[in-house]
């Protein structure tokens, strides 16, 4: 490629790149700097002072941080696992010849297009302890003891319920990714296995699953990254409560910044969230390079 082509190529890429880098790097640098400051908007008298590593020391020595990370992973692992199982079942079922499957697929996909805020509203409504239809149904089938305390104010039920709401929204995405993977598996291995007299379970375990692995990995990593940032549904369904029983890392960072106005400490929390996201992004890049992805 000659140099004039290189320059033209650069001139196409540059605007987008400059835009991303500016919009990305300035706030990121700002966060890094703020995380080393003692800065509370409610205490202007104290001003902005250098804090050294004290925000991070506080972050990593506070038991609450560990609890929040634990809760976040509880939510992430629970939702990704559930979505993977349900998504796999749906993808395998959609991968059969039935008329009308295309319509079923479209309907199943609908929650995925819905704004997470609205998903939160919908779930809050149907789980309302007085006039929510789902709670009423739970009582009718004799499981009333489950909903004696309103589900969203019950500290031990709130995360599982949030996981269900998350699964309602994102299982369709996982199912569609896996379905695309299933459709790209060639027919030949199945025919060979069929001739060899294998059982359906054997074909699933030894052909479908291994060949579907790249799609499963893609779905799992992308869902892990997106569920790590969960905020909207929690904000609207529980506000992090009861107490802090449903507070995840993203929510913790938000609360410290916009309710306690502790800019420095919130930035330190957000750096931790960012660090966790980077680890998963690098894993994703490795998968792309390792040929796990057929781009």
């Amino acid at each position: 490629m000659n140099s004039s082509q290189r320059i033209r190529g650069l001139s196409y890429v540059l605007p987008a790149l400059v835009f991303i880098v500016i919009i990305f790097m300035i706030p990121l640098t700002y966060t890094v700097v703020m995380s080393f400051l003692r800065w509370n908007l409610l205490r202007p008298d104290l001003g902005i002072r250098a804090a050294g590593f004290s925000n991070f020391v506080r972050l990593f020595t506070d038991k609450f941080t560990l609890d929040t990370v634990g809760r976040t992973f509880y939510f992430v692992v629970g939702s990704v696992f559930l979505e993977l199982l349900a998504g796999l079942a749906i993808a395998l079922s959609l991968d059969t010849e039935f008329k009308g499957w295309k319509i079923a697929q479209s309907i199943i996909l609908v929650p995925f297009m819905i704004a997470p805020v609205v998903v939160g509203f919908v779930w809050r409504f149907i789980l309302n302890n007085d006039y929510g239809p789902v709670v009423h149904f739970i009582r009718q089938i004799g499981l009333g003891s489950l909903v004696e305390r309103p589900l969203l104010s019950n500290p031990s039920a709130v995360i599982p319920v949030l996981i269900l709401a998350d699964a309602w929204q994102y299982t369709p995405f996982v199912a569609l990714v896996l379905l695309a993977g299933l459709k790209s598996i060639p027919q030949e291995p199945y025919e060979a296995a069929y001739v060899d007299g294998s059982s359906a379970l054997q074909r699933f375990l030894f052909i479908t699953l291994p060949l579907l692995k790249p799609s499963i990995l893609v779905a799992v990593v992308i869902r892990t990254l997106t569920s790590l940032r969960v905020f909207d549904t929690i904000f609207i369904m529980t506000g992090g409560g009861p107490g802090t029983a449903s507070e995840t890392l993203a929510f913790y960072g938000y609360r410290i910044a916009f309710q306690s106005y502790n800019i420095g400490f919130s930035s330190a929390i957000n750096m931790l969230t960012f660090g966790i996201a980077i680890v998963f992004t690098v894993i994703y890049m490795k998968m792309i390079k390792g040929g796990a992805i057929y781009d």
Partner: protein, 275 residues
């Protein structure tokens, strides 16, 4: 497609049946609630099908200037950020697909990192900086923030679509005397039109549904629909009917657009790693 035995077909039917019920029950409840009279919202036990339905919730939505303003804000913010994403993203995608220089991997990494960064990391600096610059609660910060999210999608999705078009087509056009720009406009662009519309819809979907940035960066005059929905749910006495109508109005356009391009949607959201 795998050949199935009857037992497996029945299993598949059951799974899809359950999935449909699971998907449709919450949706149906909201749709019905949006047509119920206020008194029927609070019936105990809950009543799916009261004797009469009404349009009063939708009328209430459209006769409230604050609500209509939010609808306009949503449309304006979504439209602007999508245009920016396409203007910046499409040329970059073309270059990444066509010129292969050694740095394209670095560019890809930057784009991917921008996509993977949790919004919470960006939102506080965005808030502080727009306050500092005196542009807080205007349209500018929210549009810039949303474009930041959709540019990476536009780049990755369009790169995939450009890669599918054989280079020989362009070369042929250029041999026939087109400049690269002309061949882009007259030969390539018509071919990537379906991809372009899918990309626009995905960018629009991201902007339309975004909540955290909108919550923090917009004010009374600029807030989009998701922030409005949130405001009324946080209040003590939720007007379930009007809110259900607002919810339907919020989600309906994106469901329609999204279903039109459903296959390309997944491709965009997996950054081209799944086709």
């Amino acid at each position: 497609m795998i050949r199935r035995k009857p037992a497996q077909k029945i299993g598949a039917l059951i799974v899809i049946g359950l999935a449909l019920v699971w998907t449709l029950v919450p949706l149906l409840w909201i749709v019905l609630s949006s047509f119920k009279f206020e008194t029927d919202q609070f019936s105990i036990p809950p009543n799916w099908f009261p004797d009469r339905f009404t349009l009063e919730n939708y009328i209430a939505f459209f006769s409230n200037s604050e609500f209509v303003r939010s609808l306009f804000n949503s449309v304006f913010i979504t439209f602007s950020s999508t245009i920016i994403a396409l203007l910046l993203g499409v040329p970059a995608a073309y270059a990444l697909a066509r010129f292969n220089w050694k740095h394209s991997n670095t560019v890809a990494f930057v784009v991917l990192l921008a996509r993977m960064t949790p919004p919470i990391v960006m939102v506080l600096p965005f808030f502080m900086l727009s306050r500092y610059l005196g542009i807080s609660q205007t349209y500018l910060p929210i549009i810039l923030a949303l474009s930041f999210f959709s540019v990476p999608f536009a780049v990755w999705m369009m790169r995939g679509f450009f890669q599918e078009i054989p280079v020989s087509l362009e070369e042929a056009a250029m041999i026939d005397g087109c400049t690269r720009f002309q061949s882009l406009r007259r030969v390539i662009l018509p071919l990537v039109m379906p991809g372009l519309s899918a990309t626009s819809i995905l960018c629009a979907l991201i902007a339309w549904n975004e909540f955290l940035f909108a919550l923090v960066l917009t004010g009374r005059d600029t807030r989009p629909l998701p922030v409005l929905v949130n405001m009324f749910v946080s209040e003590r006495n939720i007007e379930w009917g009007v809110m259900s109508a607002a919810a339907i109005i919020t989600v309906l356009p994106m469901i329609i657009f999204g279903l039109i391009v459903q296959n390309d949607l997944v491709r965009g959201l997996t950054m081209g790693s799944s086709k």
